[in-house]
């Protein structure tokens, strides 16, 4: 019993927690979004408006079913729920991978992973890719990114089109820097992303339009403060939910920043995620290991420059490759030449008018090379196709295994129906074969060598890289 609560580093941790507590206590304020109520016409008119800005928020590692607005039993996300309840929520949305880099490459380009070619840790998004920030830049927008996940670092090709592409922290601060400025503080949570965003907005002229990409990481790292640690601490799920609540409050802070600058009525807020998180549903924890629903079913929420009373829910199956075609359509910006996604604007309009959405029988693909972190080993792909109420998953270089799940009757994907339902299996296997055989990268995928420091930073996120 001679242990101490305060080990050497524990003292620092305590200090940090107290500081965060005080800081949060003074920083978070509840702000009612001040926007007028909008209509379908307002939505259609967005294209013609010349004052709309975009905040594109990627909440890393956020699975949809842990948000209140997606039916979660815990009150993890009151603010995001509020945005969804007065905006547009896509109820059946999928990410294209369970690993950040592959997923983000698809999200930005609107192409499936096999077509971006970004499947392993050394892969880079090719210069030829037409990235949304380039489109915004060409359209006269100021473009800035504030990110905290090393997998979207500029050396992986994700900074294309951004005027500023900054990480609010980049450890470690050199000894010389401390010597020069002992007060130097390196930010350490998503709140710093929002504060940095506020500082960026403070530099913009009144008439400038802007596109701001914020990549939040605290859910990935299970970070929360005292106030948000409200769902217990008895296991990973509790920590995860606490961190969602913390991030929800960070999002409320972002809303406050926009509201106080009178920008909310001129800003489209987009909330997406790159992948979900597993809690032993299929034998593993974390992500980037398989493609079941817990790691691929993510949220997609739009908060428009006006409030919807009530919000619209789009039940059409959607996916991350649809996100940018939809946003370009909404904003009247040019669509990319190549896309595996499509604009969901017709589906939004249908949801708004209460009409049945147009039928959508597209297969939706997700893809992961399970050897993404092992340079010495051959690819070990796993691919999933979701079509109607079924999901089929193949694994292995030659698709040696196949699993089939009925997502309506078995949403937890616990009963493999591959043998019991041979016709459905054959249909989905055929779709996957076609995807595998016919989808090739549009470009020669560049590769980058990472130095030890970069590798260690990525390892520090919990990734296994050999």
């Amino acid at each position: 019993m001679s242990r101490r609560f305060l080990q050497t580093r524990g003292i620092l941790v305590l200090g940090c927690l107290v500081l965060i507590g005080v800081f949060v206590g003074t920083q978070f304020r509840i702000v009612s979004p001040l926007r007028r109520t909008g209509t379908i016409e307002d939505l259609a008119n967005l294209q013609a408006r010349d004052d709309v800005n975009v905040v594109f928020v990627v909440i890393d590692t956020l699975r949809a079913d842990h948000l209140g607005t997606y039916g979660y039993h815990r009150d993890t996300s009151p603010h995001l729920d509020e945005l969804a309840n007065h905006g547009v929520r896509f109820s059946n949305h999928l990410a294209q991978s369970s690993w950040t880099k592959t997923s983000m490459a698809s999200l930005w380009t609107g192409l499936y992973p096999a077509r971006t070619g970004v499947l392993r840790y050394s892969h880079v998004v090719a210069d030829e890719a037409r990235m949304p920030a380039e489109v915004f830049h060409d359209a006269g927008f100021r473009t800035a990114a504030i990110w905290r996940n090393g997998w979207v670092a500029p050396n992986f090709g994700f900074s294309q089109g951004f005027e500023y592409y900054m990480r609010p922290e980049n450890l470690p601060l050199t000894a010389a820097a401390w010597h020069e400025n002992p007060a130097a503080r390196l930010p350490g949570s998503d709140l710093d992303v929002v504060r940095s965003a506020e500082e960026f907005l403070r530099t913009l002229s009144r008439d400038e339009r802007w596109f701001l990409y914020l990549h939040l990481m605290d859910v990935h790292q299970y970070v929360s403060d005292l106030e948000s640690a409200r769902f217990g601490t008895s296991g990973y799920i509790d920590f995860y939910d606490n961190s969602i609540h913390w991030t929800d409050r960070v999002m409320a802070e972002l809303t406050r920043v926009l509201t106080e600058r009178d920008l909310l009525k001129r800003t489209l807020i987009v909330i997406v995620s790159d992948h979900g998180e597993a809690f032993l549903e299929h034998g593993s924890e974390g992500h980037a290991k398989n493609l079941y629903g817990e790691v691929t079913e993510t949220p997609f929420i739009l908060s428009l420059p006006f409030s919807l009373e009530p919000g619209w829910v789009v039940d059409t199956p959607s996916q991350n490759v649809d996100v940018w075609p939809t946003l370009f359509d909404l904003l009247g910006l040019p669509q990319p030449d190549e896309s595996d996604g499509r604009s969901l604007l017709p589906d939004i309009l249908a949801a708004a008018s209460g009409a049945h959405p147009p039928p959508d029988e597209r297969p939706r693909f997700s893809h992961l090379d399970r050897h993404w972190g092992r340079t010495e080993q051959a690819p070990s792909p796993t691919m999933a196709v979701t079509l109607g109420q079924y999901r089929g998953i193949t694994s292995g270089a030659k698709a040696e295994t196949f699993e089939l799940y009925d997502l309506v009757n078995d949403p937890g994907e616990s009963r493999n129906l591959a043998e019991r339902e041979p016709e459905t299996s054959a249909e989905l296997m055929s779709k996957l074969s076609k995807y595998r055989d016919e989808s090739t990268s549009l470009w020669i995928t560049p590769e980058v060598e990472l130095d030890d420091m970069q590798l260690n930073q990525l390892r520090a996120l919990g990734y296994q890289i050999e």
Binding site: R9, G10, V13, L173, N181, R202, T203
Partner: protein, 797 residues
């Protein structure tokens, strides 16, 4: 602050006022003012520059980059904004981003030395050291005596592995210093000296490195960089006494320097010269002025705590508290920790009263745990953890409390979290709990071998001499078929002093699993261990155990007798002889052997347990139980005597007393699966499939033994939870030891869930396993199921 003054000099009045406000110390106020003004009109580059400088001064260095970038839009501000922005980018590892701005500055002003120097540093950061050296040489042409430039060049040359050139630079620097030492501060000269020593060492010139460091010490005996380099240099050569001499000399020259003092105390402690360390720290407490006395007392407290003098540590801490105007939460927590450590629990609770809820709950939880109130402790600790989730010690304490309550799953959960926190915080070994070991032990017992392997490896990373852990690792690796890990564990075990006999017991145990007990006995026979030696008793016990399991009673007896010839007065050997005689059915002779063991050592528990078994066999239950109770009191660390006593009472129909005893055993020996199963059985027979019975059975089934799973399955079936029963009984039959009865129970559960085809298969397995108590019922059920047509719809049945 110089920057702010510069801005103020050439700025409009409002800017001057803000800069003055900052210069007066109100940086927060000045920042608020700039924010207000910029929110009204962001297109004010000078104000943006001022805000960037203020943010930098306040420590918000990354936030400062935004206004500085905006300030760059004014060509007049290119230099001040660009230089500060570049400096921040270089400092934060974003040198690539700094290069374009610096190139613009240099394009307009090629002679700007500060910009060029930053540019060279940015080039190094961007891994363009060759270009950096060119830039640095250009700088040195115009400023040949600038030591800072030389040092950066030295760094670039090291990075490029151009050692000869680096040596030339060093020589040149040395010449300059010797030529005009008055031009350079001592700190810089000491730094260069330490660099020279390090450089010699890197070039594998060990003798020269030592020579250089000796001369550095002569010239700069109290310089911390030199001292640090010298500790490393002498340490590499094993010159521990030289380290102490050097530090004593430094301390004598500069006794007021807390860093030198801490370094000396640390080395003295490491070299077990505790009296001198204590004297130095005590002197510092008496001699330091009041401003630094608290720091000295804090150091004394840490020292006492580290060497285990907790009462003295508490004394130092309480003196320290009187020196600080308002103890922080951290100090109060330390105080409570120290009070608990010395057993002053009431005072610890009083101290905790001043803490916020979360921290108070943790302290009070710990107090309750020390008082033995595990339930109250767990509640308080879990409440506290909510506020402070990444405190490993709290998790560990909660795990202990849960384990005390028999909640192994809950305990393991807390221990896993503790490990996770320790890993995340990269705590040093001394700061870590034994949580990884606790998890591994539980998971190995429960059959979760993958998990056990993971946590064992984590534990062994920090406890490489833990014999028990290496032994368990060998077993777990065996179960997983990981032969290389198994071999490594045994190899390492063999190298740990005193653990050699255990290598053989483990190897024998694994051999028995692979090739049978006789092969295991043969292996031990070949070990060349002197089995009569007391230190090798575990190996002799293992040999006897394997021989008995192989029905080689005579050989076992011969082995024990041979050992007795060498050590006739060894009570352990007599007890072992009794065991062999008992196994071959010679009860009287066995009794004699156990009694001989007790005669040699009246407190010899193996002899007591053996004798009790013989007494019980002869019907003398009361004496047997009394003897077992004595044995358990003497050796409460082992459940054996307690279990046997409880089992005897159970067999005598004293269910209530047996239940109480098994319940106590489960709490005291969480890994004793037999007691857990017996407790569940007794409850099942006395109160049927009640909630309490189910809880006891679930607790027993944590370890996945076939009898525990079979019992749990039966209870679940009787409670009407057929799905759970099928799941549990399937796990039971998956073990190789499942009896015919377990297969039969599985069949009953499968019938209840409507899986009749699987039920028939289970019945066939049960009946093929040989007759059992319910063979007839099983046959009738199989016949009935076989009569029903297979394709009959479920609803028709």
């Amino acid at each position: 602050m110089t920057c702010l003054i510069l801005v103020a000099c050439s700025a409009p009045p409002s800017l001057q006022a803000i800069a003055q406000q900052a210069s007066d110390g109100d940086i927060e106020g000045a920042l608020s003012r700039t924010a207000e003004l910029l929110d009204e009109d962001p297109d004010q580059p000078r104000l943006q520059l001022l805000r960037g400088e203020l943010l930098y001064a306040s420590g918000e260095i990354m936030l400062a980059t935004w206004p500085l970038r905006k300030a760059l839009t004014d060509p007049e501000l290119l230099v001040p904004a660009g230089l500060l922005l570049s400096r921040i980018l270089i400092q934060t590892g974003n040198s690539d981003d700094a290069l374009p701005t610096l190139e613009v500055i240099l394009a307009e002003n090629a002679d700007h030395q500060a910009a060029r120097f930053l540019y060279a540093q940015a080039l190094i950061g961007a891994e363009r050291e060759v270009d950096a050296v060119i830039e640095l040489d250009r700088l040195l042409e115009s400023d040949p005596l600038n030591l800072d430039i030389f040092m950066v060049k030295l760094r670039a040359l090291f990075e490029l592995e151009r050692e000869d050139e680096a040596a030339e630079v060093l020589a040149e620097l040395r010449n300059q210093l010797e030529g005009s030492p008055e031009d350079y501060p001592e700190e810089l000269r000491a730094r260069l000296c330490a660099v020279e020593a390090r450089f010699a060492f890197e070039r594998e010139e060990a003798e020269r490195a030592t020579g250089v460091i000796e001369s550095c010490l002569e010239e700069h005996p109290t310089d911390l960089i030199v001292i640090s380099e010298a500790i490393e240099a002498f340490g590499r050569k094993g010159q521990r006494s030289r380290i102490l001499d050097m530090l004593r000399n430094a301390y004598a020259q500069k006794p007021e320097d807390a860093s030198i003092r801490a370094s000396l105390v640390s080395q003295l402690t490491a070299q077990d010269q505790l009296e001198e360390a204590e004297r130095i720290l005590s002197d510092a407490v008496e001699n330091d002025d009041s401003g630094s006395r608290a720091t000295a007392l804090g150091a004394l407290y840490e020292f006492y705590w580290q060497i285990g003098k907790q009462q003295e540590a508490l004394g130092a801490l309480e003196r320290m508290i009187t020196e600080v105007p308002e103890p922080t939460t951290a100090i109060t927590m330390q105080h409570a920790d120290a009070l608990i450590a010395v057993g002053e629990l009431d005072r610890a609770a009083e101290v905790a009263a001043s803490l916020d809820d979360g921290y108070r709950h943790l302290v009070l939880g710990r107090v309750e745990l020390a008082r033995g109130n595990s339930k109250a402790a767990l509640g308080l600790l879990e409440e506290g953890i909510r506020s402070w989730p990444d405190n490993a010690t709290s998790r560990w304490l909660a795990g202990n409390a849960a384990e005390d309550l028999g909640d192994m799953a809950g305990a393991t959960n807390h221990f896993i979290e503790a490990v996770r926190i320790e890993e995340t915080q990269k705590l040093r070994t001394l700061e870590r709990t034994d949580s990884a070991w606790r998890v591994a032990r539980f998971q190995a017992a429960a059959g979760y071998n993958d998990g056990a392997l993971y946590f064992l490896q984590k534990h062994l990373d920090h406890h490489p001499m833990d014999v028990d852990a290496w032994e368990l690792l060998a077993r777990v690796a065996f179960r997983l078929g990981a032969r290389s890990i198994e071999a490594r564990a045994i190899r390492v075990l063999g190298r740990i002093p005193g653990a050699y006999p255990r290598v053989w017991t483990v190897r024998a145990e694994l051999t028995a699993e692979r090739r049978g007990h006789l092969a295991a006995a043969q292996l031990l026979g070949q070990s060349r261990l002197e089995l009569s030696h007391q230190a090798n008793l575990p190996a002799l016990r293992a040999l006897v155990r394997h021989l008995l399991a192989a029905n080689e009673h005579a050989a076992a007896l011969a082995r024990v007798d041979r050992a007795l010839l060498a050590r006739p007065d060894g009570p352990d050997l007599h007890a072992l002889r009794g065991l062999v005689l008992e196994a071959e059915g010679s009860a009287d002779a066995a009794r004699g052997a156990f009694e001989r063991g007790l005669a040699l050592d009246s407190q010899h528990t193996p002899s007591m347990i053996g004798l009790a078994r013989i007494l019980a066999e002869s019907g003398d239950i009361a004496d047997a139980v009394e003897l077992l109770d004595r044995a358990y009191t003497l050796d409460a660390g082992s459940a054996e005597a307690g279990y046997l006593a409880a089992a005897l009472l159970r067999d005598q129909g004293m269910q209530k007393e047996a239940e109480e005893r098994f319940s106590e055993l489960v709490a005291a020996h969480p890994f004793d699966t037999r007691s857990a199963v017996e407790l569940a059985r007794i409850r099942f027979s006395s109160s049927g499939p009640s909630d309490m019975t189910l809880a006891a059975a679930q607790r027993a089934a944590l370890f996945q033994t076939p009898d525990a799973l079979a019992l749990l399955g039966e209870i679940q079936l009787q409670r009407g939870d057929a799905d759970a029963a099928v799941d549990t009984l399937r796990r039971a039959v998956a073990t190789s030891e499942a009896s015919a009865l377990v297969h039969y129970r599985l069949a009953l559960a499968l019938v209840a869930t409507g899986e009749e085809v699987d039920a028939m298969a289970a019945l066939q397995v049960a009946l093929e396993s040989g007759p059992f108590s319910q063979s007839e019922e099983a046959s009738r059920l199989l016949a009935r199921l076989s009569e029903q047509p297979e394709d009959q719809p479920e609803g028709a049945r």
